[in-house]
């Protein structure tokens, strides 16, 4: 690569990075200074940064309740996802009569966006008596087909001789999954955790429909009602935004290496 293309690449990437980061920077800056809400022109660097907007956000909404609700649902979703997807993915590495049908059904289900089913899903959840409950919010997200296939292709990338050796070593099929397959598929596990966590944590429409009382509200619902009652004229709103975004960011940043590797391993084995 020539020097010129390298420099051009850097310039382009830096420019894009600035565009990507500016909104994030702007929120963080406002959340620690409360500037730019009323005044014009805006200041680029925060004056007198402090954390008191976070204190305000914390006490203005019942932050602990929102957070624990969201976290409980996300943890439930992530754990169940890992179990169900790994199990289904492992089953799909095997040959059995009806496999084609199962694959067809899963691919067809993948073609149905969840949003296209919200009305009956809502009615069904009501029939199950799960409206306004954490289980009701979590249930539709208990498995992600993308992640099933991710596990499937990761498992298939593991040499079959390892599985056979384990079988001869005396492991039951279930133990092969837990002791051999899963430890060797850490990237797939990481990808699954990230995706199911982000999707559960950030989901808004479904809780909006299912949740009826404030004590079951999740973070995005809390954020929207905060916005409704305080408008966007206080630094606390942006402090709240930061707090809301932080957990999924953190999970992503921690697991991003495995996350990308998980996707790659999946894609190598077509």
């Amino acid at each position: 690569m020539s020097r010129r293309t390298r420099i051009l690449s850097h310039i382009t990437l830096i420019l894009v990075s600035v565009i990507m980061l500016t909104p994030i920077y702007w929120v963080v800056k406002t959340s620690i200074s409360g500037e730019n809400l009323f005044t014009y022109p805006p200041s680029i660097v925060p004056h007198d940064p402090n954390l008191f907007y976070y204190v305000q956000a914390w006490y203005t909404v019942d932050f602990v309740r929102l957070f624990t609700n969201s976290l409980a649902i996300a943890v439930l979703v992530v754990v169940v996802n890992l179990v169900l997807n790994a199990m289904a993915g492992y089953a799909l590495t095997k040959h059995f009569p009806g496999k084609g049908m199962v694959l067809g059904f899963l691919l067809a289900s993948m073609m149905i966006p969840f949003h296209a089913t919200i009305i009956p899903a809502y009615l069904l959840t009501a029939k199950l008596g799960l409206l306004n409950s954490k289980l009701g919010i979590a249930l539709p997200f208990f498995s992600h087909i993308v992640c099933i296939f991710l596990f499937k292709s990761n498992f298939e990338a593991i040499p079959s001789s390892l599985v056979q050796a384990a079988r001869l070593d005396g492991l039951s099929e279930l133990r092969i999954l837990t002791r051999i397959m899963l430890p060797l598929s850490r990237p797939a596990v990481a990808t699954n955790i990230i995706l199911s966590f982000i999707w559960s944590w950030n989901d808004f429409l479904w809780p909006l429909i299912v949740v009826r009382s404030p004590d079951q509200e999740t973070m995005p619902l809390g954020l929207v009602s905060f916005l409704a009652s305080f408008e966007d004229t206080t630094g606390a709103l942006y402090a709240f935004c930061v707090l809301v975004v932080l957990p999924s960011m953190l999970v992503f940043l921690l697991a991003q290496k495995d996350f990308i590797r998980g996707l790659t391993t999946g894609a190598t084995k077509g």
Partner: protein, 321 residues
Amino acid sequence: MDTPSRHADDRKTAVVAQRMKKPFLSRKTRHLAFVWMLLLPALLVYFAYRAVPLAWNVVLSFSFWAPGKPIRFAGLYQYQELAFYDGIFWEVLKNTAIFMLVIPISIMLALALALLVDQKITGRNIYRTIIFLPYPMMVVAVGIVWRWLYNDNVGLINYALRSMGLISRPIAFLESYDFALAAVIAAAVWQILGFFMIIILTGLQNIPPHLYEAARIDGARAHHRFWRITLPLLRPSLFLCVILGVIASFTSFDLIYTMTNGGPGHATDLLITYIYKAAFTLSRFDYAAAMTVVMFVLFLALALLTNRLAGGDAGKVDISD
């Protein structure tokens, strides 16, 4: 067995024979039972929250029904209303189609960025992380942030445009019929760009380098290599992006809800937000169901179309993702 220690061998055999117990069910049956036991929970979820709702939706769309009322057959009534009496529906449909510009825009940008980041340049991991960073952010928060960036009095975008001398008076992007949809599209691109870039990047990294080396020896120039090797081999990744993009554009509820709530008028209402309003604010579940069926049919048609364009390998791609 003609070894001298025959006696000892016999004893050992007995022990072994005892340990090699024959199980109750045949191996085939046990294998099958095990596989279905693994599959069942996941399949149940999809059955309950995909297959059943889809059928239910179709039934609802041919009925008159509201919560607490008996269900009556309506024939094509709901669809007739959609097609002939609800002008907003057509506007919403148009908006949804325009909103799909998110897909080509972000895929092209993502492809360019992926190619840049795929080079061996210092800091590429940092660039990659930064560009992906918006994706994990909560869409509701993203909506709030962008709403404020677009603000006509104190918004950063207006400030930037004004200080660059591009506009003389501030524009109220989200209150303008001309700009609102474009503004929402820009925010959507900003968020999903990094996700597409990662998908394309993994596709790029799976292209064996010796293909490029061979092409280079064969005398192919850089742009030949891109059109003849990179792009064809990226087709599965690009197809995946399109499908995910189509899903995202049909389901971009959160962003619209927080940024404009469909306004001004219905200038930024998408199918999904309109369905939500019909069902959960007007309680017209039957009508909303009919719209959902339309949305699903459109989605399916688009998915099949892209699959056709991608060379008819949908199954393969979906498995490889």
